[in-house]
């Protein structure tokens, strides 16, 4: 008779795996990808392909030649980093800059710390912020999104037109003290569907929400971080707007514009870099929301989501120490 396996209990395992979780996130990113193709055409496809390809390639090279261990690219986490990085840059960004971003994201943001699970910061955001600081002009020049409902305009070439993001428009207006520019802002409906300037993944709120609902249903994320993030940003911006409507824009604009939704649903919820307990996650979300509005309103950059999330990533170990799960009989 052959030898028996005598390992300890439990003797069965559920069907959850790291691979399944990571590929679920990739599936959830598909609607955003499709929307970016519709609005930005082939440019979006090239940026995404280069970003994903470079992320996977860099991880493979580092694992194979530097760490000399079996590769883990099939777990799908490098693909997530690639997609999220692509979704955070303008579609007309030169592809060599995209490749640099992918290198920083994977090599500096992830593999330096020991790979998936050990990185303290969201790798895609590390790459994105590096690009924003190193290539500020290229990173803040956006093409106008195609108006899919206006065939005449779609037919015309879109490469020539560049459009500022709503947030950049607002920043300029507040700085110049000339609020009349704000009349050019897209309305809420446009922003919900996605016809405004911006990075690949931040133009359509609906696509982001579809992905978010998928992740919630698959129990990959819980509501705590996205809801506390969005709600705290909304409430804080609302208070400012209520005090001085002329200087601070309506809270709904903050929520629908820029990368706030993308950040709240896909980046702040990154398991590796966010707190473990539910109470800690709410604190984390509130921190992200407040920091985003503070940076957007008073900071040098029009957009603050990336910085807000990275700053909160840095305090995650502290939050984990301070906010424990509810114990039995306590």
């Amino acid at each position: 008779m052959k030898l028996l396996n005598v390992s300890g209990s439990p003797h069965v395992h559920g069907d959850l795996s790291v691979k399944r979780i990571m590929w679920d996130v990739n599936i959830a990113l598909i609607p955003i990808f499709i929307v970016s193709l519709i609005f930005f055409g082939l440019d979006a496809l090239f940026v995404s392909l280069v970003s994903v390809f470079c992320c996977v390639l860099f991880q493979w090279i580092i694992e194979k030649f530097l760490l000399k261990k079996p590769t883990s690219i099939s777990d799908g986490s490098a693909v997530i980093t690639g997609l999220l990085l692509a979704f955070n840059v303008p579609s007309n960004l030169p592809l060599w800059i995209v490749a640099i971003g992918a290198f920083v994201a994977i090599a500096v943001g992830k593999m330096t710390f020991g790979g998936l699970g050990k990185n303290p910061f969201n790798p895609a955001l590390v790459g994105r912020v590096f690009l924003l600081i190193s290539f500020p002009v290229q990173m803040t020049t956006w093409p106008k999104a195609n108006n899919i409902f206006d065939l005449a305009q779609t037919a015309a070439t879109t490469d020539a037109t560049t459009g500022a993001t709503p947030l950049a428009l607002i920043k300029e207006a507040v700085k110049a003290g000339d609020m009349s520019v704000l009349q050019n802002l897209p309305d809420y409906w446009t922003m919900l569907i996605g016809q405004h300037g911006g990075s690949l993944g931040e133009v359509s709120a609906i696509a982001i929400l579809i992905g978010g609902i998928y992740l919630l249903c698959r129990k990959v994320i819980s509501w705590h971080i996205p809801v506390s993030f969005i709600l705290s940003a909304f409430v804080f911006a609302g208070i400012l707007h209520w005090i001085a409507p002329a200087s601070y824009i309506a809270p709904m604009y903050h929520v629908l514009s820029g990368g706030l939704l993308l950040g709240a649903v896909f980046m702040a919820t990154d398991m590796v870099t966010s707190p473990m307990s539910k109470s800690g996650q709410i604190v984390f979300g509130i921190g992200c929301g407040l920091l985003t509005i503070i940076i957007r309103t008073w900071g040098a950059y029009p957009e603050g989501v990336s910085f807000a999330i990275l700053l909160m990533n840095a305090v995650t170990p502290l939050i984990n120490k301070g906010f424990k799960p509810k114990r039995f009989a306590k």
Binding site: M1, L4, N5, V6, S7, G8, S9, P10, H11, V12, H13, G14, L16, S17, V18, R20, I21, S72, D75, G114, G115, L116, G117, K118, M271, V272, T273, M276, S277, K324, P325, K326, R327, F328, A329, K330
Partner: protein, 443 residues
């Protein structure tokens, strides 16, 4: 529907042997009876080599406080008293009896009539339970009579009967509830009398509707016994979780159920108590599920203690080719058997055959800090943190994070997407800590 609030999981139920009625397992040629088949000190043998014994005859006597009497499950002659390897390969003293015939001691009532009238008094019941060597049949095999000797200053309010059977695969409690419904009710009434309480709750998970129906129906004749259907969630059968689910009371860290006025016993124990008190029959057999996905037939056996696992395997016609693991108990908390020559002991509730496909653990990955282990933990602990601390050799900090509150239910490890051996690490640290405590006490 009631359940416990924190954590918990829903493993695949795999109750394959639900429909298999309880069969009498044939007598073997020889049985091996360990002197220590309960929690506590070993019993002292009162028979000698060559002595003739009958079924139900006392063969080893409880002398320590936490200990239980042991009776012969067969008739025959004592072959020897020797040290024998148990199912983990550890040598323990045992009485080995060669089976001759099938002769009972004449004090046992072998008639099938159900004795409803409880004649014994409170103290007589407890003495009888002790005399008949009844131990808890839910897994821990704690001598039952001790639970009913309530310490000074404590008061029991509720008797809770654990008929949850939340472990996948196991069906012995299920069958017992269907086939011995009335005996169980009488057993519960005896236990209520021993405890001096009116109220008894029988907790049954909602995946056993026919048991709930049969028991509820029978309970109408027994005032004070309430059948409580519970929402299906593992580990509902864990003592603290069951008390919380039924009464809403919290047993604090390091305390016992009696500290919140509860005494918990397994439904199988209630049946054993009925047999002991009403029929004068000692605990000499178990109801045991023999099951597995690869087995052609699923069984529930009434089986004498001391029969070896090899005898069971032979009786069911051998093991399937892809058998990788044989477990005593359920797949979540049961223990893998190392030595199949070992005999079964009191409280052996199943022999579970696990195939290679189920048994092989997937490759361990890096923790991705998803927090699923914390969500699954019914005690509200942080298994990922234990793992990190223990792997850094920092057991003391893990103890500070309430490591000793872990009930070893396995929810964290079952859930972990990175396939971390969380419970292996936790068990290692707990044992290490107990060792250091013992060494300190010696000094």
């Amino acid at each position: 529907m009631k359940t416990f609030p924190l954590g918990g999981i829903h493993p695949e139920e795999n109750k394959l042997s639900t429909a298999a009625t309880i069969e009498e397992f044939p007598l073997p040629k020889q049985v091996t009876i360990f002197l220590n088949q309960h929690l506590g000190a070993p019993a002292t043998p009162v028979v000698e080599k060559g002595e003739k014994v009958k079924i139900g005859q006392l063969i080893a006597k409880a002398e320590a406080f936490v200990c239980a009497n042991i009776h012969s499950p067969v008739s025959g002659s004592v072959n020897k008293i020797d040290s024998v390897k148990d199912m983990f390969g550890i040598y323990k003293n045992a009485i080995i009896i060669d089976v001759e015939g099938d002769e009972w001691v004449d004090t046992v009532d072998l008639t099938p009539t159900i004795v409803k009238d409880i004649k014994l008094s409170k103290t007589e019941i407890i003495d009888k339970i002790k005399e008949m060597g009844v131990v808890g049949l839910g897994g821990a095999t704690f001598p039952t009579h001790i639970k009913y000797m309530i310490p000074e200053g404590k008061k029991a309010e509720y008797l809770i009967i654990n008929a949850v059977e939340c472990e996948p695969y196991l069906t012995s409690d299920h069958r017992v509830m269907l086939e011995h419904t009335e005996e169980i009710m009488i057993g519960v009434s005896i236990l209520r009398k021993a405890l001096g309480v009116e109220k008894a709750y029988i907790g049954i998970e909602n995946n056993k509707p026919e048991c709930i129906a049969a028991m509820t129906n029978m309970a109408t004749q027994y005032a004070g016994i309430v059948v409580e259907p519970l929402k299906v969630k593992y580990p509902q059968g864990a003592e603290k979780q069951l008390i919380k689910a039924i009464t809403g009371r919290n047993v604090p860290s390091g305390k016992l159920p009696i500290d919140v006025g509860c005494v918990v016993n397994n439904v199988g124990t209630a049946l054993a108590v009925y047999d002991a008190v009403q029929k004068n029959k000692p605990l000499i057999e178990n109801i045991m599920t023999v099951t597995g996905k690869a087995l052609a037939q699923q069984h529930n056996y009434k089986i004498r203690i001391g029969i070896s696992y090899n005898d069971i395997i032979e009786h069911i016609g051998g093991l399937p080719d892809d058998t990788a693991k044989i477990i005593s108990g359920g797949p979540m908390m049961g223990k893998a058997i190392v030595n199949l020559e070992a005999p079964t002991t009191k409280g052996a509730s199943s022999m579970l055959v696990i195939t290679e496909k189920e048994a092989i653990r997937a490759e361990e990955k890096e923790c991705i800090r998803c927090g699923k282990c914390m969500e699954a933990c019914p005690m509200g602990l942080e298994p990922y943190l234990f793992s990190a601390l223990i792997n850094n050799g920092n057991i003391q900090d893990a103890i500070g994070e309430k490591l000793m509150d872990c009930i070893e239910c396995g929810c964290c490890m079952f859930t972990c997407p990175a396939n971390k051996p969380l419970l292996d690490e936790i068990r290692f640290a707990k044992n290490k800590f107990r060792q250091t405590m013992m060494q300190q006490q010696k000094k």
